[in-house]
Symmetry: C2
Subunit: 200 residues, 2 copies
């Protein structure tokens, strides 16, 4: 009797191959053929798991979000229930920035989707908004937990600011743009500015 | 006698055509042929003005920076010598965000250069850093002018934060990402966070 097929593992094998193809050539490089070749399987098998190129691209996008979400949940659990808003936001931001090879691949893939949405590639802009919206929700929830001081203000607008700044920082890191501050120092400064420089 | 050739106008005609080509197809779409066709002139004439494709791309990049710089200088003069740091930073940020068709074209072109630098296109990352560095310098100079309060802190890190956030905001605007705040409201919120919410 043949071993049962692990469909989940097979789908992951295919989306992982798609991510590598995107890192090398952008979304334009993704075809059933190029991804099948990268994964070392038949075109027919890729088509069996993903009916259309659009489905396939969206599954690849979702796989990046899922990986980042899994890492974030693990970090969140390690921090425990008494973590401050600052600690939680720092953890989620550092999980999302391209600070190692895996996160660099994720950032590049999300960037390729964003750029493709702008230039009219195979994906619509709306499809790419799940990642920044999820980040904004997490950050706003944490900011609402922070003790309110006189400058406490506006969790939604601060969350938007964090998402904007994290997006710009990630993009700059991919390009190798550097300043007198390291990326992690800039994250701390961003946290100072939205939470106040006193710990809370 | 033929009219004298206006070399400056001719170079502008060519870089303007290159910008339109980039907006439609990214940096990969730029060739002497495609730009000559877009400008309605001969390939030979494009080659006469720009010896190599790299020179040509850099001149196009610089033309965007020059246009934005010219608009910013005009706004700066309109504001006059008594403008507050907040007014000056607001002016430069709004001149850079894709709030109308021209600025959208500029943001798209700069984004295409940035993306090409990441994915190993015809331009190096270093070539694309002039724009964020110029912005960081202007912002830091203005923040140094602001009266120092107890949370005054760190003009360089705040300037980096403004550049990061403006970059992320511009990218989001190109994609059509929206939140409960308008782009201009987010600019005001960013200014609140780096300057304090009291006017200075």
């Amino acid at each position: 009797m043949p071993a049962p097929v692990d469909h989940h593992a097979r789908r992951r094998q295919i989306t992982a191959a798609a991510r590598r193809v995107i890192c090398r050539g952008g979304l334009d490089a993704v075809t059933f053929q190029s991804v099948a070749a990268e994964a070392g399987i038949s075109v027919r098998l890729v088509q069996y798991y993903f009916g259309t190129k659009k489905d396939f691209l969206l599954a690849t996008h979702r796989s990046v979000m899922d990986d980042a979400g899994t890492r974030f949940t693990r970090r969140r659990n390690e921090l425990g229930p008494d973590a401050t808003p600052r600690e939680v936001i720092r953890a989620v931001l550092t999980e999302l920035l391209p600070l190692d090879e895996q996160r660099r691949e994720e950032t590049l893939v999300l960037g390729a989707f964003g750029w493709s949405a702008i230039t009219g590639g195979g994906i619509t802009a709306e499809d790419t908004f799940a990642a920044p919206r999820a980040l904004a929700t997490i950050v706003a929830d944490q900011l609402r937990r922070a003790p309110t001081g006189e400058d406490a203000g506006d969790p939604e607008a601060d969350a938007d600011l964090v998402v904007m700044a994290a997006g710009g920082l990630a993009q700059g890191m991919l390009q190798g743009y550097s300043t007198s501050r390291t990326p992690l120092e800039l994250v701390e400064h961003l946290l100072d500015r939205v939470l106040g420089s006193t710990e809370r």
